[in-house]
């Protein structure tokens, strides 16, 4: 009990600290397809996987034994967003993103899941160049409880993107993102708090079919995801998250910016249980940053079998 209180206080303290520090931080970002971009579909896939792990871990326990795969869930998300790169020559894009996935508990303890995502982005720069980016991303994830207040997990995402820019031809890229994490969580009646530090390692291979040649990038960052969920009623819940991103090392395509990028993303999500099996959510997320702006709305459905 004492341990849980200490964890609860620690989680709350770190989240408050993150919120305070966020006001003082300013950061910069690389281009649209860069791994340093928080809205890179492979990075988003890793974060969605972490989000699923937290959600499933708080499901209702039962007195059943190990029995292979059980407690299947299928889910679908639609994200629609605007990303605004305020730097000179930066692109402003609107995107639609479609995600479907499924996960299940193996032996009643380990979560295994898969999600696929298609992201379609279009926009133009202040100089008049237009771009169109289509990305397919696939993510495999798992999580395993350590005890009743901690679990660890990992996700692996692969994405392939085609970026057409009318003034510069086409750019194709393949991205690989590995994101191991640990989550500590505590529940105080209707309020659940969680804190998930993660190391996100991404590799990106870029080809320029039009002009020939290619390039590659390697980026490692720390992602600290804090989340609070409050059950207003048995059907309706509100959750808020605050994610701190700190690039730890960066050998990027765009070397214009230093390797010490840091930024915050934050959002709120309203959840509603239509039935005991079907739930829906509506969320909004944005970025706390001076050079880069974004507004993303998400609607989602989840069915638990």
């Amino acid at each position: 009990m004492q341990g849980k209180r200490v964890v609860a206080k620690s989680v709350a303290a770190v989240m408050v600290l993150c919120l305070c520090v966020s006001a003082a931080q300013a950061s910069s970002h690389d281009g649209m397809t860069s791994l340093s971009n928080p809205w890179n579909p492979a990075i988003m896939g890793a974060e969605k996987a972490l989000d699923r792990s937290i959600t499933v871990t708080t499901t209702t326990p039962h007195a059943g034994a190990f029995d292979g795969f059980s407690s299947w869930s299928a889910f679908a998300d639609y994200d629609s967003g605007k990303t605004n790169d305020k730097r000179q020559g930066g692109f402003d894009n609107y995107f639609n993103s479609y995600t479907v996935g499924a996960d299940a508990l193996y032996n009643n303890s380990t979560l295994w899941g898969f999600l696929g995502n298609f992201n379609d982005a279009k926009g133009h720069s202040s100089a008049g160049a237009r771009d169109a980016i289509e990305t397919w991303a696939y993510t495999l994830y798992m999580s395993q409880p350590v005890n009743d207040w901690m679990f660890w997990g990992s996700s692996f995402s692969y994405s392939t993107a085609g970026n057409k820019i009318n003034s510069a031809g086409e750019i194709d890229s393949d991205s690989y993102v590995l994101a191991p994490y640990v989550t500590v969580m505590t529940q105080m009646d209707k309020l659940t708090l969680s804190l998930s530090p993660s190391y996100v390692l991404g590799y990106q291979d870029v080809d320029y079919p039009g002009v020939g040649g290619g390039d590659s990038a390697l980026m490692g960052k720390m992602l600290l995801m804090g989340r609070a969920t409050y059950a207003v009623t048995e059907k309706f819940s509100v959750s808020a998250n605050l994610n701190y991103n700190q690039v730890l090392h960066n050998h990027a395509l765009d070397t214009e910016f230093d390797n010490d990028h840091r930024w915050f993303t934050t959002g709120v999500k309203l959840g509603y249980k239509f039935t005991s099996s079907l739930s829906g959510s509506l969320g909004y997320s944005t970025e706390l940053d001076s050079n880069f702006d974004s507004d993303i709305w998400t609607v989602g459905l989840c069915y638990a079998f």
């Binding site: 039962h62 007195a63 303890s109 048995e234």
Partner: protein, 307 residues
């Protein structure tokens, strides 16, 4: 700002932009969250006062319990000790002479065999109530917290079991109905058994304070009132599904059962409340409670009263 592209994203963003400016949206959300929290905190805390029951005199009742609770890997059955406490408290409210005997938590298969062997005989009590809780698989194998497994009916068969004509057993496990096919269970062990789940079913835990998976206070105010009145003030606010149905039925039972027939009728009422739960709330979290008897019994007189 770029021009809004045609298509779904443009329509969606036009709508959102006209509906919310950034500051307005955040203000609304903060107000909404604070308002919800406030209203939630302002909810009435009136508790339904449970029925006063006149305890039965002249009956000696013994209570024994064996529960596996502290499994590793986040599978702790935190709500099951609460159910055990609820059963014990029910007996203390219903009978003047209650002897709490064995209370084994996190035992081994040999501990379970010893537990069965040390159950009271008819010379020691008039009614023997036994509560059993554990993780159990579909074949009736119990998982013990030390990692071993053993079939419940095999352990029962290996024990030197003292028979009792009025042994009342509560089996609070997943796949509980698997014991129904065991003749030893109904012939030599239990006169009446309350099973928490069907052969293919899991039985879940409820957290009344977390509103998961349902708002217990809203849907079962009598059970909530009974728990708040009779359980320890610091009870963990976690309970098994059988425990929830037990408390709701107990809170509506004016006359304590006196024999196997009236116990079976009490269990039938628990079962009926389970049926209603599945009809009203949904089937996902509610397992099928069942009563199991060794021999044909006369039907219960009513749904609301005990004979």
């Amino acid at each position: 700002m770029p021009g809004i592209p045609s298509g779904l994203s443009g329509i969606f963003f036009d709508a959102m932009k006209s509906l919310f400016t950034k500051q307005y949206a955040w203000s609304c959300l903060v107000l909404f969250i604070l308002g919800g929290t406030f209203l939630s905190g302002c909810k009435s805390t009136d508790i339904v006062v449970p029925l006063k029951v006149q305890p039965r005199t002249g009956l000696r009742v013994a209570f024994d319990s064996f529960i596996n609770v502290h499994y590793d890997k986040n599978r702790t059955l935190s709500g099951w000790p609460t159910t055990c406490d609820a059963v014990e408290m029910t007996l203390k409210l219903w009978y003047e002479q209650v002897q709490v005997r064995q209370h084994i938590v996190d035992g081994t298969p040999s501990d379970l065999a010893d537990f069965f062997s040390q159950l009271p005989g008819p010379e020691q009590c008039d009614i023997s109530v036994v509560y059993l809780g554990s993780i159990q698989d579909i074949d009736g194998n119990w998982e013990f917290v030390n990692g071993t497994t053993a079939k419940l009916t095999d352990v029962l068969a290996s024990a030197h079991l003292p028979q009792h004509p009025c042994r009342i057993v509560i089996l609070d496990t997943c796949h509980a109905a698997t014991v129904g096919g065991d003749e030893n269970w109904t012939r030599h062990f239990a006169a009446v058994t309350l099973l928490a789940s069907g052969r293919m079913e899991k039985t879940y835990q409820f957290e009344p304070s977390a509103l998961a998976p349902i708002d217990v206070e809203k849907h079962y105010p009598k059970a909530w009132g009974w728990a708040q009145t009779y359980l320890r003030p610091d009870w963990k606010k976690q309970i098994s599904y059988l425990g929830l149905m037990w408390m709701e039925t107990t809170a509506n039972t004016p006359v304590p059962p006196a024999d196997t027939t009236s116990w079976r009728c009490f269990f039938e009422q628990c079962r009926n409340r389970g049926v209603t739960f599945r009809q009203v709330i949904g089937r996902r979290w509610g397992s099928q409670l069942q009563s199991l008897t060794g021999s044909p019994e006369p039907p219960c007189l009513t749904n609301s009263g005990l004979p």
